[in-house]
Symmetry: C2
């Protein structure tokens, strides 16, 4: 079992066929995930292609995560919680300034993804909208978006099968509103 400390991130490689399990060990904690084809970094996770091909905003067990080249990157084998978000970009330094009025330094998923993906030659501009595991974004029929605390409980997990060789960026999210006001670690394992 690997641990991502609170408000931090990591990167890892997956071979096609390997299974990544992302676990919320304490409950109520979001993990942002981005994906790149390990052999051609221009191919990456696409929220627009995923929502189009899966014909739903709410991506969960049985769905696939698709790339900007219209290929399946991962299959979701299991989702014990069942609520994830694929609408919102990773929280960034600007998120805290613009949405929350916080002027001083604040850790963010965008920074944590940028730092950890640099070793793979991926630049901050290349980071797409993340698949936000356990994130509970509510929307009404008028489109209004609100960020609610995750419904995940201690031990909830999502299992992803890699359908191509991948570089993965993964965080323990740093935004107060996304995580019910407290920051917890994220666990993961690769099988």
């Amino acid at each position: 079992m690997n641990i991502i400390p609170r408000q931090s991130g990591t990167s890892l490689k997956l071979k096609k066929g390997q299974v990544l399990t992302v676990i919320d060990p304490e409950g109520g904690q979001v993990s942002d995930m981005v994906l790149f084809n390990a052999n051609e970094k221009g191919e990456k996770l696409s929220s627009g292609k995923t929502l189009d091909f899966e014909e739903t905003i709410l991506i969960t067990e049985g769905h696939h995560l698709w790339s900007n080249r219209s290929r399946k990157m991962m299959k979701i084998l299991e989702d014990s919680n069942g609520r994830n978000d694929f609408l919102l970009a990773p929280c960034s330094p600007e998120t805290f300034k613009i949405l929350y009025g916080i002027e001083e330094y604040h850790p963010s998923c965008f920074e944590n993804l940028s730092i950890n993906l640099k070793e793979y030659g991926i630049s901050p501009d290349d980071i797409p909208t993340a698949f936000n595991i356990f994130m509970n974004v509510q929307f009404d029929q008028h489109g209004k978006i609100t960020v609610a605390p995750p419904t995940s409980r201690a031990g909830d997990r999502v299992r992803f099968e890699a359908l191509m060789d991948l570089v993965v960026g993964l965080t323990a999210c740093s935004a107060e509103d996304s995580n019910g006001g407290s920051f917890k670690p994220i666990h993961y394992q690769v099988d």
Copy 2:
């Protein structure tokens, strides 16, 4: 007035402060639009950042279109129809194969954006989820997505103010389902 013939596209530059008006001359026709900072092409339109900062799925008059660097690229000054989409990626050759089972060549927004943006050094992999003007994507509380015919009528228009120097990709969309089964031109002007 400039004309984008049916199932085609164009690209253009806007200086900061210029206003782009996109017009549906016959009604019921979608236009996909992507944006890049003209001076640093790594900065581009981001659906995830826009939905996050505007706190709504349905982007219309008064909202801004935001970049992956969390900066405002355009302001929507006017939207006479009021329904646009920012969930779905531009239709691509694979859209027609995977969603509609069409094996032969089919024109697509992705191809039309790729061809027209090449002169600016923008590669197909760089094309983000487009702002789909006049596109009528319905979603229910379970997240289920359905593509309905546009509600736009002849002469409906959306006016965008450029908030930085921009390269713009713009299409007359090529997908049957998005355009009520028939393909029409898109008009635009720059003031």
